[in-house]
Amino acid sequence: MKLLSLTNRYYFFSIVIILSIGGVFAYYIIKNIVNHEFNEKLLADKEQFLYEWHTYEEIQEVFYLNVGDRISIKELPLDVMPEMKMSDTLMWDNYEKRILPFRQLRFSDQLNGKNYLISITKSLLPSEDLITGISEIILLLMVSIIVTLLIVNRQMSKRIWAPFYETIAKLKHFKISSSPEVRFEKNKIYEFEELNNEIKKMLDKNLADYHNLKEFTENASHEIQTPLAIIKSKSEILLQDGNLPEDDLEEVIKISDAANRLSKLNTDLILLSQMDNQQFEDLESIDIVDFIEDKLTYFEELIDLKNISLEKHYKHFPQLMMNSSLAFLLINNLLKNAIRHNVNGGYLSISVFENKMIYENSGLPSEVNPESLFQRFKKGNSSKDSSGLGLALIKKVCEIHQMKVSYDVHETNHKLEIQF
C-alpha cells in the first residue's frame, strides 16, 4: 500500500468521525438555542397577553400574536390554580397538514373572580428538518474537505515526495560491483536530506569495504603466490643439482607438487570469492553447443588415452546469456570432472536440450551423497589430489546465471544435470 493512500485513508476516517460527532453536537446546540429563544418568546407573549387580557374588554381586536401561535383559555374550578409550565407537545398543524412539534406555555390567571387556564402554543422548527439541514452542511463540508485533501496530497506527493522517490530509484539501480559513487541532489526538506546523507554514508562505507575486500583478495593472492613461486623455483634448482641422491629428488618433487596444489587451491578460492563479489557481470550470448564442441577439442586426446567412448546428443542449440570466463570455467570443469572421475574404457554422454544439458559418465560408485559434493572441500572417494572445489565452482557459476544444477549417482552412472 502506498504511503499516500494510507495517509488518505486515515484522513478520510478521521474527517468522517469528527464531522459526524460535530453534526450531533451542532444538532443539540442549535436545538438548545432554538428552545431558549422560544421560551423567551413565550414568556414575552404571556406578559403581552396578560396585559391585554386585563386592560381591554374585547381582546380579539388588539391581540397581537405571531401567525401559527395558538391561544386557548379555559375556565377552571374555583379552587384550582395550577403552576406555570413549559412543555413540548405534538399537534396537528393546519398549514403544513401534518403533526408537528409545538412548544407550549401553560399558566393560570384570575379575572373577575374566575380562574382561567391559559395556554400559548408556538410551532417549533421540526427536528427532522434540523437534522436534514445539519446533515447537508456536514456532508458538503466532508466532500469538499476530502476532495481538497486528495488534491493537496497528490500535489504533495508529486512535489514534496519527489526527492524521496528519486532516492529510491537511485538505490534500485545501485550495484556495488559496478556503480560509481552515488550522488544525491541537495534537498530543502530536512528529513529527506537526513535520509540521503545517511544512505550516502552507508553506501560510501559499503563501497569502500567492497573495494578493500577486493583489494585484499587480490593482495592475498599476490602475497601467497610469491612465496609459492619461491618454493617452486628453489625445488627446481635443487632438481638440477646432480649431487643429490634420487631419494632426495623425490622429496623435492613432493614439495614442488604440494606448492602446485596450494597455488591451484588459492586460485580457485580467489575465483569463488570473486564470484561472490559479483565481479563477473559482463554477459554475452553464448551458443552452448559450439562452446562445448570447442572445449572438447582440448580433451580429445585425454578421452582417447582413457579409451572413453563419447556420445553427443544435441537436440537444441540454445543461446545462453553468460559471462564468457565463467562459461569456460563451467564447461571446462564439467568435462574435466566427467573425464577425471571416469574409468578406463568408460563412457561420456553429453546431451543438450532446449532448457537443460546433461553430462552422464561412468565412474566408481559414490560412497557419499552426491549432492553434498557441491560443498566446498567436500571430496568423493576416488580423487586423492582433487582440491574439492570443482563442483563448488560449477554450482557457483550456475547460481550466478540462475541455473539449477543437480548431481545423481546410480551404481556407476554419474549424471550431472544443469537446467537453464
Binding site: E218, S221, H222, E223, Q225, T226, L228, A229, I230, I231, K232, S233, K234, E236, I237, L239, Q240, E246, L249, E250, V252, I253, S256, D257, A259, N260, R261, S263, K264, T267, Y298, F299, E301, L302, L305, S325, N332, K336, R340, K384, D385, S386
Partner: protein, 225 residues
Amino acid sequence: MNILIIEDEPALAESMIKYLSQDGYHCEWVSTLNEAFEKIHLYTYDCLLVDITLPGGSGMEVVQRLKKNKSESGIIIISAKNSVDDRIEGLEIGADDYISKPFDLSELNARIKSVLRRRNFSGQNEIVFKEIAILPAERSVSINGQPLSLTKKEYDLLLYFISNQNRVISKSSIAEHLWGDYMDMADSYDFIYAHLKNLRKKIIGLGGGDYIQTVYGVGYKFTQF
C-alpha cells in the same frame, strides 16, 4: 644474450638467475622501478622479465617506457595475479608474453627462448640438437634431413625438452606446459608417458638417438650425455 630481471623478491630472482645463467644468459637484476628505468636507459637487453607489482609502481610502466623508446627487447610480464584483465592489458601495451606466479623455471626458460627466436628476425631461426633440427616458424622437425611427423603435443614436448636440455624437468611442469588449465596434474602423468613413448619411438625410427632419460619418481631429462 642479456636479460634484465625486474623482480622485488630476491629469493625468486636468485633462482631465475641461477637457472638462466646455466644456459649462457647474462642476467642482471633490479628490484625497484627506478632502478629498472635507469638500467633500460643505459643498456639494451635482449629480453626483460618484468614483475608487475613492484615497490614504487607497476611494472607495466617499464613496458610502456620501452615501447615509447621503440625498444626491440623481448618483454615477458611476470605477475602474481592470474587475471585475464592483467594479461590482456600487458599484451596490449606490447609485452610479448605473460606468465603468472608460481611458474616453473623450465617454462620461463622455454618462453624466453621462444620470445628471443621471434625477436631475432635476421638471425638463424633453426634449432639444432645433434641430428634433430626444428623450424619453429613452420613447426616442422627433421632428423638427419628426413622430415619427422609429430602430433601437436609431441612437437610441443620435443621443443620444451630441447629448450631445457640437460635439465631435470618435473612431470608437473610438462603437464602444465602441455595442458595448462585443462588438466589436473596427477591425471596427466600417464598421458605424458604415452606421448614420450611415441616421441622416442618416432625419433629412433628415423635413426635419431634416445635422448630422453627418466629420472625415477621425478621426471625426465633430455640430454646427449
